[in-house]
């Protein structure tokens, strides 16, 4: 009798402890790290970079005088008084680090392999993301980022040192592109939704990015600008029609729309998405005063115009009386037909327009040889083309000939100001982050009106405060950065 029981107990013990009994812990729902190859990560990462660049900074378009709040809404106290808190802009921080980790993962996955193309792309894209972070927060986690097993609370690196590393990252990317082996980078042409595996276009992209970074540092002397620009390859910069865009296959399906369209235009069912962001009177009126028809391309006609006002905007921060008849439907949305035409449009990362103005500025500053005036005027023409203005060349020429102070090269006493002001009017709504950065760096356009909100801060913020997440989850390192003022704690390049 007892023997039987013992036998049974032993039997139970043995069968229960069979290894296979417990070997059921492979995830049946999501692919594991080991089974993911770089071509499965890159398309999403590139799309996400594009999405962040046009989705996460609408407030900057407001501060910069491009957009304003529509008549249906009450004041957004935080952004309209400039009194931003640590809860402001948290998504920007989170989204970038989230996105950058995917590029980091590509680098880890391709480490020691011959997939140099993937490695080059990942390095370049990391520079873009970290550039946005430094330009927003100055000192940020960089060298200790993305290594959770050793750095659960990453320390903050100095913004200027991070910038210097950007240049070496770009150098490494060029070297990697030079050593690509045919067939090593599996599926690169489909996975690279930016340039479909074109080395030439990637070089131009890197050159343009380098140019952008050099100009960011125009107020500092931490690099020799001309020396840095001498590393630009002979391929040159992004030229006419060469706006860098991603398009995984956007279309009018839920969750698959062009991000700009998705945020500011229609749902796939054709329902209006955005009643909040509307034309800002400063830009709208300036364009009209300057005889610049591009306002019809940056902004849409009011859905229900009042008093024949097809294009109608608001002043930033103004609290209109409730009797004001102009509601959101009576005003111009900011996803004008020149910016986006359908849910399947490709999404821009760096525009050709921007490329020309960057070149003009660099030449004007003496950082590189060239003809600043010609580049300036090409930038204007490129803007008309990019906006799909009918008879773009003719209209651009007419605008150039209009004699308006914002186009007249010869009359302009301050050519840099002219370039930056025109850049501002030639890229309305495209990348508010660039406008804010140029404004902080150069102060142009100098007449951007400040908010009309009651009790505003002293000036347009020059940076964001660190996100509350960092105060909660990385408190020691963020506290070491001291008290941050959005009005006076400048980014290192903003002198």
């Amino acid at each position: 009798m007892k023997k039987i029981i013992i036998c049974i107990a032993v039997l139970l013990f043995l069968s229960g402890c069979k290894k296979s009994f417990f070997d059921i812990n492979d995830n049946p729902n999501d692919p594991a790290d080991a089974s993911i190859t770089p071509d499965l990560v890159l398309p999403q990462a590139l799309h996400e970079t594009g999405r962040i660049m046009v989705s996460d900074y609408p407030t900057l378009a407001h501060w910069m005088g491009w957009w304003a709040r529509g008549g249906d809404y009450g004041p957004s106290t935080e952004s309209e008084t400039y009194n931003i808190t640590t809860n402001f802009g948290q998504t920007d921080w989170n989204d970038w680090y989230n996105n950058l980790y995917d590029y980091h993962a590509i680098l880890k996955k391709t480490e020691g392999s011959k997939q140099f193309f993937y490695q080059a792309i990942a390095r370049v894209m990391k520079v873009i993301g970290f550039m946005h972070l430094v330009d927003t927060y100055n000192n940020i986690p960089y060298s200790e980022a993305f290594n959770i097993s050793t750095h659960i609370a990453p320390k903050y690196d100095k913004g200027n040192l991070i910038y210097q590393d950007f240049f070496s990252e770009l150098d490494k990317s060029l070297l990697l592109l030079a050593s690509i082996e045919t067939g090593a980078d599996l599926k690169i042409s489909s996975a690279d939704i930016l340039f479909h595996g074109s080395v030439l276009k990637w070089r131009k992209f890197i050159n343009t990015l380098r140019l952008k970074l050099v100009l960011r540092l125009s107020q500092t002397s931490i690099i020799n600008h001309a020396t840095e620009l001498s590393k630009v390859t002979t391929d040159g910069f992004l030229g006419s029609g060469e706006t860098a865009t991603v398009n995984p296959g956007y279309g009018a399906l839920v969750g698959k729309q062009n991000p700009f369209w998705e945020n500011y235009k229609y749902t796939p069912a054709g329902v209006v998405v955005d009643n909040f962001n509307r034309a800002n009177n400063f830009t709208l009126n300036s364009l009209r005063t300057n005889g610049d028809i591009r306002y019809q391309y940056y902004y849409s006609k009011a859905r229900t115009p009042l008093n024949g006002n097809d294009y109608y905007g608001y002043n930033f921060g103004e609290n209109l009386p409730n009797s004001d008849p102009y509601k959101s439907v009576n005003s111009s949305d900011i996803a004008g037909p020149g910016l986006v035409t359908s849910a399947s449009d490709a999404q821009w990362l760096i525009t050709s327009v921007e490329s020309f103005f960057l070149q003009a500025e660099a030449v004007q500053r003496g950082y590189m040889p060239g003809n600043a005036k010609q580049l300036f005027e090409s930038g204007i023409l490129e803007s008309f083309i990019k906006l799909k203005v009918a008879n773009a060349a003719g209209e651009a020429a007419a605008y150039l000939a209009s004699g308006s102070a914002v186009v007249n090269w010869n009359l302009a006493s301050d050519k840099l100001q002219l370039i930056l002001v025109q850049k501002y009017f030639s890229t309305v709504g495209m990348l508010p982050f660039e406008a804010w950065t140029d404004y902080r760096r150069t102060g142009f356009p100098s007449n951007i009106p400040v908010t009309k909100a009651a009790n505003p801060g002293p000036n347009i913020p020059v940076r964001f405060r660190y996100p509350q997440n960092e105060y909660n989850y990385n408190p020691g390192n963020v506290a070491a950065e001291g008290t941050i003022s959005p009005f006076t704690s400048n980014i290192f390049w903003d002198l």
């Binding site: 049974i8 039997l11 402890c17 990560v41 999403q44 680090y97 069912a269 409730n322």
Partner: protein
């Protein structure tokens, strides 16, 4: 039926049963007689000594009241025991007898308690504390959820109702928490079967005989890791031992009315910055003046709505009176118990409804040495409620952040608005989607009908238990159990289309959608154990050894369609375009295998000691970390028996006990967490192009189980011939290697990870007193019981370089585990203050600013919990009251923030909205750079202050969570039995008036809600939001008739 499901996993067990039964059946050809000693209720009486009269033959009954003895027809058995009156029992022709023993009166000291594995033990032998609530006290206020019936009745058990909704969700904590971020739910064991705690709310409380609570983690030695937070042992009715059949019919009606509404200001109406706006959601307008004012925008035909500009109480009347109906039928007959229950709850939120229909069939039968019992419980729940999350998602998508919960729609309604007028929102004037006055918020009645979730939950709990007793000293039990839950939910938005021809409020269409989700969970377990008892002179030994195998499966499928075409048809097929809605599935499976055992020794009925040990092996940890052993021991000495001269007229019983044990668990790690995964995101795949992003969560693959070490000492003292009893316990739990999911800096590439790191302790004192009767004569009986719990805890460490982790709440006000502070502590955004704690304001604007560094405020769980239960009977009337106090902790009312935004809270009418100097404030003197007292710089704008920095400084919405409440009142009357003498079909009848949460007293600082409420079921406490309905008092009537 049941066993078929089991075969794939447990074939060998079936085989075993066959192998076991055959030889036993042969062996049972013996002349010994088998007896079971039971009390009058049919519960076994263990430990009874048996002798054959006039011989030296003798034995004693085991824990299940069973004994075998050799005897002949005509012999008389003499049964004696400390708890029973002596019995002389004559042997007839039969070989099997059930002997009914009469329990001695006032033998509280010989209480037999159900312990782990369903083994009955004498309370005097236990080295750890248990408490029991019996049926009558449990259901005296006719709770729908049995957990509500436990509230306030046992020390150390903190039961908080989380929300006043039709689901009556509760959170149960026994002796504080043992995991910072993991489950602190006690284990629910129904008739010996381990089940998820969620089933407690599905159980019919009327089926329950009693609930025994094992407060410490000593149950974990036998029940495994889930028992570390204590065990609720529920025993359901099993049928009678005699041939009598009793049918019982009970009907309850209960009504619920709001007992506490947030404090509103009634001075100011619609508008902003003191100016009137007819269509504002804000109440920042001018003071009420009783004039007739236009409300909302005029209709397209020019019709204007005019209302008197004075406050109304319409916002409070928005909520309905809740109605709960319960109908119970049960049949109790030989070896069989059957019950049916229907519960129908209409909540205070218009349209919210929850129904529960349950059926139970319990049956057990003995065949000589073999006993088999089977329990089947089927419960179906059907509910239809407002989909608060659906509305929140829509509003968030619209960029309208603060319209989250239902209450928030009320907060967006100024006081002069006669909200009840818009109830019939489809036809009443100015109530429609296009004509409602509010341009920034919806008609709440419209919202309630637009976003709905309807669901159905089917639970099937079944178990089969077989016990074989080859000898009176040995019992072998096999218990299999299978628990199914299937839940099907349908969330819809009916959608609302704005009609441009009549729209005057600027509303844009609300899209319709349907989302179907299905959840399936199954737990299959098999428990096999043997128990062996041996008596040698004054020593009594018992050994238990067993195994436990469990497999848990979970599966969910969801699919949704956001492009409905034909209105009113909520199907994923009714769509335009390609299928692009959300959808997904998830499956998980885990296994646990355990070996457990215990050895106990008792001496002379006054000393006992027990050693326990258990080894678990689990499937969801990495090999090498997934098998772990944990030991325990407990001991008890009945001093009053060991040293008899201690007994006196005053002291009748004294016991000391001690227990120590360790438990380990890895609950916080789910299946498949050890490997980093990737997910499709960003709309991918686009056609044939896939795209994945790295998951933001990663668990350290080397993660190990967390450890809990528990000490407990206690004493049980009875006085005055056991009329007054006191149970006092002290416990200390040391938690180490805690698995914590830490939110980490996003710059790590992750948002959360899990590590073994934190440690904390919790200790407490508990006191239970029963004084029964305090007074008694032929008509009157007065008795009293009470309990008190003191609990404190302290976080010792979190992680090197990390001194805190967020547990639950909002970014600016949340529960945290913070080193050196109790678990949990509120960390809240406060104003910037100087070194003296004075608020620093701007020298010009008079405005303070918010400090981004969160300030620790105080503990979130009560320090003290008291329960007082006086009871008085007069003739056939009985009045029992349960009063409860919780105190020493804080709570946070998110609604304070939301109400400040719209300007409806009482706080926003401070100083009649005249500019004022912030009390106790300072500003910096530019000359000296020092802070000087602010006597004259007033806030420059009241509206901006309250809608701005006042809301950022969430300390404004912290309040003392202290409360006293009358938890239950029950006044019952039992009709005199002589009334029914002539009617031969009714045996007894009674009527009970009952009330729950009749009164709630809170300090003045609490202008928000019941501090027991909490917004989620996690380890946070005291965080309430606008999706939580206001608290109610429930009053009702129960009629019961027995046939």
């Amino acid at each position: 039926m049941l066993t078929l499901k089991l075969t794939s996993m447990k074939q060998f067990l079936l085989l075993f049963i066959l192998v076991l039964i055959l030889p036993m059946a042969l062996m049972s050809q013996t002349i010994s007689i088998q007896c079971t000693v039971v009390d009058e209720k049919g519960d076994p009486v263990p430990g009874v000594s048996v002798t054959v009269k006039g011989t030296k033959t003798g034995t004693s009954a085991d824990q299940l009241g069973k004994f075998n003895i050799r005897a002949q027809k005509g012999d008389v058995l003499i049964l004696t025991g400390t708890s029973i009156e002596t019995i002389e029992f004559k042997i007839e022709d039969e070989k099997v007898y059930t002997i009914v023993a009469k329990l001695k009166a006032h033998m509280e000291t010989e209480v037999v308690v159900t312990t782990a594995l369903g083994i009955k033990r004498q309370q005097r032998d236990l080295g750890y504390s248990t408490a029991q609530v019996k049926s009558d006290l449990l259901i005296q206020s006719a709770p729908v959820n049995a957990a509500n019936g436990l509230q306030g009745k046992i020390s150390g058990v903190n039961i908080a109702t989380m929300n006043n909704s039709v689901f009556e969700n509760v959170k149960i904590n026994i002796r504080g928490i043992r995991s910072l971020t993991g489950s602190n739910d006690p284990l629910l064991v129904i008739d010996g079967v381990q089940t998820s705690l969620q089933y407690l709310s599905s159980l019919n409380p009327n089926d329950i005989i009693d609930i025994t609570v094992l407060k410490g983690s000593s149950g974990a030695a036998i029940y495994g890791p889930d028992a570390r937070n204590g065990v609720l042992l529920v025993t359901t009715k099993k049928g009678t031992k005699n041939n009598k059949t009793e049918v019982s019919l009970t009907q309850t009606f209960q009504y619920s009315k709001i007992s506490f509404y947030p404090e509103f200001q009634e001075e100011f109406g619609s508008g902003g910055y003191g100016a009137y706006t007819p269509y504002e959601n804000w109440s920042w307008g001018p003071a009420f003046d009783g004039s007739l004012k236009v409300l909302g925008s005029p209709l397209v035909d020019g019709t204007e709505q005019r209302v008197v500009y004075s406050p109304t109480d319409s916002r409070k009347k928005f909520f309905n009176t809740g109605v709960t109906r319960q109908t119970d039928l049960s049949v109790n007959s030989k070896d069989l118990y059957f019950s049916l229950q229907q519960v129908n709850i209409h909540g205070i939120v218009p349209g919210d409804e929850n129904k529960r229909t349950g059926m139970r069939l319990n049956s057990s039968r003995e065949f000589g040495r073999f006993k088999i019992s089977a329990n089947i419980n089927y419960i179906r729940g059907d509910f239809g409620v407002f989909d608060n999350i659906g509305m929140g998602n829509y509003n968030a998508g619209q960029g309208i952040g603060l319209n989250s919960g239902l209450l928030n729609l009320i907060f967006n309604t100024p006081a002069q608005v006669p909200i009840k007028r818009y109830k019939d929102w489809k036809s009443a004037p100015f109530a429609g989607f296009d004509t409602y006055f509010n341009h920034y918020g919806h008609n709440p009645y419209m919202a309630l009908e637009t976003w709905r979730v309807n669901g159905r939950v089917d639970d099937l709990l079944s178990n089969l238990e077989m016990t074989y007793r080859p000898a009176s000293s040995l019992a072998i039990t096999w218990r299999v159990a299978n628990t199914f839950r299937n839940e099907n939910d349908k969330n819809i938005s009916t959608g609302q289309s704005a009609n441009a021809e009549i729209n005057v409020n600027g509303n844009t269409s609300i899209p319709g959608y349907v989302s179907e989700s299905s959840f399936f969970s199954n737990r299959l377990s098999s428990e096999f154990f043997g128990s062996y008892t041996k008596k040698i002179k004054d020593f009594k030994f018992n050994a238990i050894a067993g195994t436990y195998v469990r497999q848990s499966e979970f599966k969910s499928i969801g699919i949704s369609n956001t492009a409905l075409v034909v209105p009113g048809l909520y199907s994923v097929n009714n769509r335009s375009g390609e299928f692009g809605g959300g959808g997904g599935n998830f499956y998980s499976r885990t296994r646990l295998f355990s070996l457990f055992g215990s050895v106990s020794a008792g001496y002379s009925n006054w000393a006992s000691i027990e050693f326990t040990g258990r080894n678990d092996k689990v499937s969801w940890l990495a090999e090498g970390n997934n098998s772990y052993f944990y030991p325990g021991l407990n001991a008890a000495v009945v001093l009053s028996d060991a040293i008899p001269r201690l007994k006196s007229k005053i002291l009748s019983y004294a016991k000391l006990r001690f227990s120590w044990n360790r438990t380990m668990n890895a609950d916080l790690v789910g299946p498949y967490e050890l490997n980093a995964t990737y997910q499709a995101s960003g709309g991918f795949p686009y056609g044939t192009l896939p795209g994945y992003t790295a998951s933001n969560n990663l668990t350290n693959p080397g993660i190990k189980p967390e450890k809990i070490e528990t000490y407990e000492v206690g004493t049980e003292l009875n006085f005055f011939r056991n009329k007054l009893s006191a149970v006092i316990s002290y416990f200390k739990n040391n938690m180490s290697d805690q698995i914590i999911p830490v939110s980490v800096s996003r710059s790590t590439g992750f948002s959360t990870t899990k590590i073994n790191s934190a440690s904390f302790y919790s200790e407490g004192l508990e006191l239970d007193i029963t004084y029964a009767p305090v007074f008694k004569n032929s008509d009157w009986k007065l008795s009293f019981s009470g309990n008190a719990t003191y609990n404190k805890s302290k976080v010792i460490s979190i992680y090197p370089g990390l001194e805190r982790i967020q547990i639950g709440g909002f970014a600016n006000a949340s529960n945290y585990a913070f080193v050196g502070k109790p678990a949990m502590t509120f960390m809240v955004k406060d104003y910037v203050r100087d070194s003296l704690g004075r608020i620093i304001v701007d020298r010009i604007t008079g405005l303070p600013s918010a400090n981004p560094n969160l300030t620790p405020m105080g503990r979130t769980a009560p320090v003290w919990v008291l329960g007082l239960t006086p009871s008085v009977s007069w003739k056939d009337f009985n009045l029992t009251i349960v009063a409860e106090y919780k105190g020493g902790h804080l709570a946070y009312g998110r609604i304070g923030n939301e109400m400040a935004w719209t300007g409806v809270s009482a706080a926003t009418a401070y100083n009649h909205r005249e500019r004022f100097v912030i009390p106790n404030s300072v500003y910096m003197d530019p000359a000296s750079g020092k802070y000087i007292e602010n006597k004259n710089v007033t806030i420059n704008d009241i509206t901006d202050f309250y809608t701005g920095v006042f809301r950022q400084a969430e300390t404004n919405f912290m309040y003392s969570a202290d409360s006293w409440r009358i938890r239950e009142v029950s006044l019952s009357y039992q009709f005199p039995s002589k009334l029914f003498k002539r009617m031969n079909f009714i045996n007894s009848a009674g009527i009970t008036l009952n009330a729950r949460n009749l009164f709630l007293w809170v300090p003045k600082s609490n202008q928000f809600t019941d501090p027991d409420f909490n917004f989620d079921g996690g380890n946070s406490n005291g965080v309430t939001t606008s999706s939580i309905n206001p608290p109610v008092r429930t009053m009702g009537l129960t009629l019961d008739v027995k046939f």
